[in-house]
Amino acid sequence: MMIPSLNKTIWTKLICCLFLAGCWDMVAAEQKSPSNIPAGYVVETVEIPEGITLGVGGIAFAPDGAVFLTSREGQVWRLQDEKWSLFADGLHEVLGIYIDPVTSEIWVMQRPELTKLIDEDGDGAADVFRTINAEWGLTDNYHEYAFGMVRDSEGNFYGTLNTSLSWVGWAGSSKWDVGRVHDGKMGRAARYRGWSFQITPDGRFVPWSSGMRSPAGIGMNKMEEIFYTDNQGDWNGSSTLQHVVKGRFHGHPSSLMDHPDFQGQDLNAISVDAYRELRTPPAVFFIHGDLANSPGEPVFNETGGQFGPFEDQIFVGDQTRSNLMRIYLEKVQGAYQGAIFNFIDPMQSGIVRNQFDKNGVLYVGQTGRGWRSVGDQIFGLQKVRWDRRTTPVEMQSIRLTTTGFEIRFTQPMDEALLKDPESFSIRHWHYLYRPEYGSPKADLTQVEPSNIQVTHHGMGVRFELPLLTGKVYEFKLNGMRSESGADLTNPIGWYTLNRLRLDDLR
C-alpha cells in the first residue's frame, strides 16, 4: 500500500497528463497512485519549497484567494500564486486557523491560547499577536493539544482540548497522573482537558461539551452544527465522529473533573455502566484497523456540486492510514447517525486537515512526523479535484429504513446484481465501551438481507434486515457493477445504528 518514492512532482505531472488523455484507470494502475480513487477525481501534490517544514495543523483561505497554512512547528505560511511567504513564526503548535471571509482578520489556535494575528504595518507578516483567550489548563504534557477551530455566525469560536497522557507507563512520569478513571490511560492534568469550548466575541471561555479523549478535528456545517472526531483508545473502542451539543458528555470521564455536577465526587466510584448512560453515543464509528486509526478534521462538502455527487457529506482523513474518507449523515429520531466509506486511499502522508476552497477543490493537509503514516512523506499538502463531468461509481449513501436499509448509488447499477442476495455480505458488531484501550468487534454477526428491491431505476436497492441499535453494520458489495459494467471503487460501507427509524423513509 506504500506509494513508491517517486518524485512527487513527476508523479503529479504524469497523472495529470495521462488523465487529460482520458486514460485514468490505466494510470491509476500503472503509476501506483492511490489504489482507491473514484473515477473523475485527481490528486495534485503541491510542491513545498526546499527548506520549509510544514506539518500541517490548519488550512484557511483569505478573501483574496491566498491559502494560509499553519504548522505543528508553529509557523503560519501564506501561499498565493505559488509564492510562499512566512506570515507568522515562533508560535506554539498551531492546530487551527480561521480567517474572516469579509474582513480577512486571522485567528489561530495555539496550544496555549487562541490568538489574533495582526499585520499592523502591512508588510505581509504579523507583528501584533493578540491573546484572545488562554483560560484552559496546560501542563508540559505532550498530549495536551488544542485543536481548532470553527466560528459561528455570531462570532463565537469553538475548539477542542485533548486529555493528558497520564498513565505513567506511557508518560514516563507521575507528574501528570491526575484524573485517570478506572485505570484508563488518559487523564486530566490541567483544567478543561477533554472538553470542547466556546470563545465568545468578547473573549470569554465557555466550557461546551465534555468526554473527549483525543479530539483531533472539529468541523461545522451550514446549519452551524458542530462535529468532532475522536481517536480510538481508552473509553473509545474505535475512533468516532460525534455531534457536539452544549452540555453533552461524549464518553471519556476524566473531563468530568471540571464538570459542575461532579465536583467533589470520586469519578472512580461511578460505574462504567453509569458513564455509558450519561454519554451520547457517537454519530459514526470509524472502523479501527479496517478504515482509520486516527481521524482528523471533518469538513462538509458544501460546494454546490463542485466536488461531485456527495454534496453535504463529510470528508475526513486519517493520519495513520493516510486515506481520505466520506461520511453520509442522516437524522433519525432527532439524532445524527450515518454511514462511512473509504474514498481515496492512500495519499502521500498522514491526513489531519481538510478544507474546500471556493472552487470546490479539497486541500488536504498532512503530517507523518513522529507517528509516521502509510504515505511515506513526512508532511505535505495535496489537492483533490473533481473533473466536473465524470460520475464516479460509488455508494452515494446508506440510509436506514423502518425495516432495513436502502443503499443509493451515484449511477444506475446492474439490476441483476442488485437483486442477487449473493451480492451482499452484511455483518454487524458493536464496540465495547470500557476504560481499556480500544475494543474488538464484539458479537460479530453475519446477517442475510431479505425482500430485496431495486429502487430509483437501479440507483438504489432496499432490503430488510434484523435491526439492532448500538451496532455497526458493514455492507460489503461483492462484484457489484454499474449498468455500464464499472466496478465500485469502494465496495464497503459501514453504518452506525444508534436509533431506529419510526417513519417510512421518503
Binding site: R72, P112, Y142
Partner: protein, 363 residues
C-alpha cells in the same frame, strides 16, 4: 589586512612570540591556509589543518555566510573553545567593539576581527613551537557549538588529514535559533520552564523566558539562544512537542512572582496576558493587564554586566502609585524612578507612564 594585537594585555611568552612573528608579517609565509565559513551552516569549511612548529603562517579567513563570524585560535584543556566563547558572550554590549575576543591571558593565541558577510582577513602569525592540538572557534553568541576546528602543530603535517565539514554532519545545528540581526520569539515548552512559555532571544547573547500565564520572567540566560529540535522533531521518527533546549547559562531574573501591585504592595493583582508586539530590530513589547490596567513591558539586556532591563509603560491616567518587586538579594538593581520600600519599589502616579528597573550580575 589586519594584524593581531592585544600584546599589551597578554604577557605570556608564547603569545609574545606570536606577536613578534606577526609584526614581521611582510615576510613571505612558510605555510598558507585558506579557511572559510559555510553559508547557512554555522560551520567552518575546514575543520582540521596542520602546520609545522615555529613557522610563519598566513591564514586567510573568508566569511561566506550571511551573518557575522570571527575566528580565534586558542590553547587549553578539553572544552576550552566553549569556555572562551561563553566568556565572550558574557562581555555584554561592548563585545562587538572588542571583536568578541575575551581577555583570557595565555589562551587566545591569535584572532580575526568580526567579519561581516563577504569580508575576509589574512592573519599572519608564527605557529607555536610546541607540537599539539590548538582548537579554533567562532565566539559570536551561540556559534561555538558547531563553529570549531583544530590546528594541529606537528613536525609531520602531511600525516594529518585536512578535514572538511560535510553537510550531513550538521545534525542538530539546523535546529539552533540565532537572534543575530533581530530578536526572535519562540513559543514552546522549554526545559524547566512554564508551559505557556514565550522564549525571547535578543541579539548580543542575552535571552529570557516569559511566562504568559503569570506574566513574570521565569529566567534569563546568556549565550546562545535555543535548540528547537525537541519541539520540531529532528527527524521523521521524532514527534516533537518536547521542551526546547536552552543554550547558554541561566541566570535568575529576580521575579519570583508577578512583580506589580497597584495602589499598595499588599493588594492582590489579577493579571491577564494580552499578547505581544514585534518591534522590528528592537526588543518586542509584552502586554498584559493588572486588575484591568494595561501594562506594556519591554525587556532588553542590561547595559552593565549580565542581566535584564525591564521597562514598563502604564496608563498615565492611573491615580494610584505602582509597586514593583525585584529581587535585590544577589544582584545589582538600578531604577529610573521611584523609592524602595523594602523589596518593593514605589512609583508615584506621575512617573508610571514610563519607568524601568535593571537587574544585573557583574561577571
Amino acid at each position: 589586512m589586519e594584524l593581531s594585537y592585544h600584546f599589551k594585555k597578554h604577557g605570556c611568552f608564547l603569545y609574545a612570540a606570536l606577536i613578534l612573528a606577526t609584526i614581521a608579517w611582510a615576510q613571505a609565509a612558510d605555510t598558507n591556509i585558506r579557511l572559510a565559513t559555510q553559508p547557512g551552516k554555522l560551520r567552518y569549511d575546514v575543520e582540521t589543518f596542520a602546520v609545522k612548529p615555529g613557522v610563519d603562517v598566513a591564514l586567510t579567513f573568508i566569511n561566506n555566510d550571511e551573518m557575522q563570524h570571527n575566528l580565534l585560535i586558542v590553547q587549553g584543556e578539553e572544552g576550552i573553545t566553549l569556555k572562551v566563547a561563553q566568556k565572550a558572550w558574557a562581555m555584554g554590549p561592548g563585545a562587538a567593539d572588542k571583536q568578541f575576543v575575551p581577555e583570557m591571558e595565555g589562551v587566545v593565541l591569535v584572532h580575526s576581527r568580526v567579519l561581516n558577510p563577504g569580508q575576509q582577513q589574512t592573519l599572519h602569525f608564527k605557529s607555536p613551537d610546541k607540537q599539539g592540538v590548538y582548537p579554533y572557534v567562532c565566539t559570536l553568541p551561540g556559534h561555538a557549538f558547531s563553529m570549531k576546528g583544530q590546528m594541529v602543530v606537528t613536525n609531520n603535517p602531511e600525516s594529518v588529514k585536512k578535514t572538511e565539514a560535510k553537510p550531513d554532519e550538521d545534525q542538530g545545528v539546523d535546529f539552533v535559533l540565532h537572534p543575530h540581526h533581530k530578536p526572535i520569539i519562540k513559543r514552546s515548552f522549554v526545559q524547566d520552564g512554564p508551559p505557556r512559555a514565550i522564549n525571547v532571544g535578543i541579539p548580543g547573547g542575552i535571552n529570557y523566558c516569559f511566562d504568559a500565564e503569570t506574566c513574570t520572567v521565569a529566567f534569563g540566560w546568556f549565550g546562545a539562544f535555543l535548540d528547537i529540535g525537541p519541539d520540531w522533531g529532528r527527524n521523521a521518527n521524532e514527534r516533537g512537542g518536547r521542551p526546547v533546549r536552552v543554550l547558554g547559562e541561566r541566570f535568575d531574573a529576580g521575579q519570583p512572582f508577578f512583580p506589580i501591585r497597584l495602589g499598595g504592595n499588599n493588594i492582590p493583582s489579577q493579571v491577564r496576558f494580552k499578547g505581544y508586539r514585534l518591534n522590528g530590530m528592537q526588543a518586542p513589547t509584552l502586554e498584559f493587564t493588572v486588575n484591568g490596567a494595561w501594562v506594556k513591558e519591554t525587556i532588553t539586556p542590561s547595559e552593565r554586566g549580565i542581566g535584564l532591563k525591564y521597562t514598563f509603560e502604564m496608563d498615565p491616567g492611573l491615580v494610584t502609585p505602582v509597586y514593583v518587586h525585584l529581587d535585590r538579594s544577589d544582584a545589582e538593581v538600578t531604577v529610573s524612578h521611584g523609592k524602595w520600600e523594602g523589596s518593593w519599589l514605589k512609583i508615584e502616579p506621575e512617573d508610571i507612564a514610563f519607568f524601568s528597573l535593571t537587574r544585573f550580575y557583574q561577571p
